[in-house]
């Protein structure tokens, strides 16, 4: 049995189609990532899978249960870590977790042991008696991850688990998530718009404008792009793009403020470029394929471009999802 099975899932808000018929399966024990710019439909999808909103069409099963018809069953099977904090900052860390244990009906005989286990996992056991209001953003997120695991769910949903955290805290959170894979019998479904974080996943689905563009492992995706990405800085970008087309038959475009194009082996191409472009080049960089390139290859824009373009729509979605 797959942990998550999604077929033709759709969600519209009035005329706006946030999710346009997506299908995928997540295998038991897998770490599955949804990668896409803000506003691509990631949070909408996660909220449907967690029974927080009803799909407009299609179907989804989580832990073997239908998200619409067996809502409570699904909820018993999942742990949730939201993008926005949902802790009671007036209570202590331990009180927050105890509240959760009671609400989720964790057997009384295992509550204390399990509580200690999850709090140690995120290194907060020593702080269990501190009020959550004294916690930093990273500590709160760790506590929420511990809470999401407290009732030993089959599937843990992490919606942008590291958004708004500093790089050090982000990598610490990833340390805990990786640790989880060894210590818990669990499937992880997460969303992110950080490329480097998607590398931690077994498989990634790239989602853009409410549709899944491609699903594969990070390695396979990078291999599929194959080419290196070259970025050059020139005094006249348009002339450079025209010259690249004319002299090297390369399709270039301006991304992130630099003329960008893909070639099979970047290092060898650079000397030819300097010799043959006929325009002064003020800077050059060559990148091995990264998920950024994968994203660009499949969607035609970098994730940052996509976010700027959909900023307004994203805000509207977030406003709708927040309650």
């Amino acid at each position: 049995m797959n942990a998550v099975e999604v077929a033709g899932l759709r969600k519209s808000y009035g005329k706006v189609e946030a999710v346009r018929g997506i299908s995928f399966d997540v295998a038991h024990g897998e770490v599955f990532g949804f990668l896409g710019p803000n506003g691509a439909g990631k949070s909408t999808t996660i909220s449907m899978l967690c029974t927080l909103s009803n799909p407009t069409g299609g179907s989804a099963r989580v832990g073997g249960h239908d998200v619409v018809k067996e809502r409570d069953e699904v909820r018993r099977n999942i742990g949730l870590v939201f993008q926005d904090p949902t802790l009671d900052s007036y209570l202590t860390a331990e009180q927050n977790l105890l509240f959760h244990a009671e609400l989720y009906g964790v057997p009384k005989s295992v509550v204390n042991e399990r509580l200690r286990q999850v709090m140690e996992m995120v290194a907060l056991w020593d702080r269990r008696d501190s009020k959550v209001s004294t916690f930093s953003g990273g500590m709160k997120r760790r506590l929420e991850i511990a809470r999401g695991l407290l009732h030993s769910p089959r599937v843990l949903f992490l919606d942008e688990p590291t958004v708004g955290l500093d790089p050090q805290t982000r990598s610490a959170i990833w340390g805990y998530i990786n640790e989880l894979r060894r210590t818990e019998d669990i499937t992880i479904f997460m969303t992110t718009h950080y490329m480097d974080e998607a590398e931690y996943c077994d498989r990634i689905a790239i989602i853009d404008h409410g549709e899944i563009v491609v699903i594969d492992s990070p390695e396979a995706l990078k291999a599929s792009v194959g080419k290196d990405r070259v970025q050059i800085h020139t005094s006249d970008d348009q002339a450079a793009i025209a010259a690249l087309k004319e002299r090297f038959d390369l399709d270039a475009a301006v991304h992130d403020g630099a003329v960008t194009f893909a070639v099979a082996s970047g290092e060898e191409f650079v000397p030819r470029l300097f010799a043959g472009l006929g325009l002064p080049i003020t800077g050059v960089s060559v990148h091995r394929p990264t998920l950024d390139d994968v994203f660009m290859n499949y969607t035609g824009s970098t994730i940052r471009d996509a976010e700027e373009e959909s900023g307004g729509m994203n805000q509207m979605m977030r406003a709708r999802l927040r309650r």
């Binding site: 909820r75 018993r76 609400l103």
Partner: protein, 285 residues
């Protein structure tokens, strides 16, 4: 814990026992919040104490001759009890809006537990917190000439609990659709003040002009205040004609309602509001 030891999936069972646990923990959180919030504890006592000792003393010297043998403060004492309970209960219900703003409501609403359990826990918690606040005023009974009789104290406690439950249910229903605290407190003020003024908390229900009589009779709070007044006057020695003036009870077309009937009305209203609040929460999210 060693790395090889894998924690197994353990799913909760559900069922009634689970719902009872949910009710209990929501209730307990309510109490914890109350005990930890000293500001709220003190501030919600300020108003009733002002009414009882400042307004009561000032106005009392004016009306002294009109009510021989009874201190005005003794008269408004049950009204002030009711006021304390109502304000605290509304505040408790208002914390739902707070929880929504700070995200915690979501943690409760996504749990695999019935919305009914959460709303009931919230209402019971609000009722107990409000009654606890009422106990502080109850302790001041002696200062305004109300005897500390065990029977009276127990009766008042039970009546406060019932009133508080109903008001929390009302507040919860109100809070169900609200997104920010300012709106809630605005509406709360708009609802509470008229309800207190029209409840007979401050003046006797006898010899009122017809329009005011009608308003007091349709005000649900009247049915919560009157039993408390009946209980207090039941433990005082007062001339019959003064008693008739100060404690006339509630009359429907000349029929004086028995206390038990008034309590049943309060309970029914509370139950109905609770059902409506549960239904309202089932529809959200």
């Amino acid at each position: 814990m060693t790395a090889t030891e894998i924690a197994a999936v353990r799913l909760p069972t559900g069922g009634l026992a689970h719902d009872v646990r949910a009710v209990k923990i929501v209730l307990r959180r309510e109490m914890l919040r109350f005990v930890n919030d000293h500001t709220r504890l003190v501030s919600s006592l300020a108003q009733p104490i002002l009414f009882l000792f400042v307004l009561g003393t000032g106005l009392g010297s004016v009306v002294k001759n009109a009510i021989p043998g009874v201190d005005y403060r003794t008269f408004i004492y049950p009204g002030v009890l009711a006021m304390t309970v109502i304000t605290t209960a509304m505040f408790s219900a208002g914390s739902i809006v707070w929880d929504r703003e700070f995200g915690f409501l979501r943690e409760m609403l996504v749990a695999p537990v019935s919305r009914g359990a959460i709303v009931i826990g919230k209402c019971l918690g609000g009722a107990m917190v409000a009654t606890a606040q009422g106990v502080v005023i109850l302790a001041m009974a002696g200062l305004v000439g109300v005897p500390y009789s065990p029977g009276l104290i127990l009766t008042l406690l039970a009546e406060m609990l019932l009133a508080a439950f109903t008001i929390t249910a009302f507040g919860t229903l109100l809070a169900a659709g609200m997104k920010n605290m300012q709106t809630f407190f605005g509406i709360m003020q708009m609802a509470i003040m008229p309800m207190i003024f029209l409840s007979g908390a401050m003046y006797p229900l006898a010899n009122l002009p017809a329009w005011l009589h009608v308003l007091t009779v349709v005000n649900p709070l009247t049915y919560a205040v009157d039993p408390m007044r009946e209980a207090v006057f039941g433990h005082l020695t007062v001339e019959p004609q003064v008693l008739a003036l100060l404690n006339p009870g509630i009359t429907w077309f000349g029929w004086r309602l028995p206390v038990w009937f008034e309590l049943v009305i309060v309970a029914l209203i509370g139950f109905t509001l609770l059902q409506l609040a549960i239904a309202r929460f089932r529809r959200t999210e």
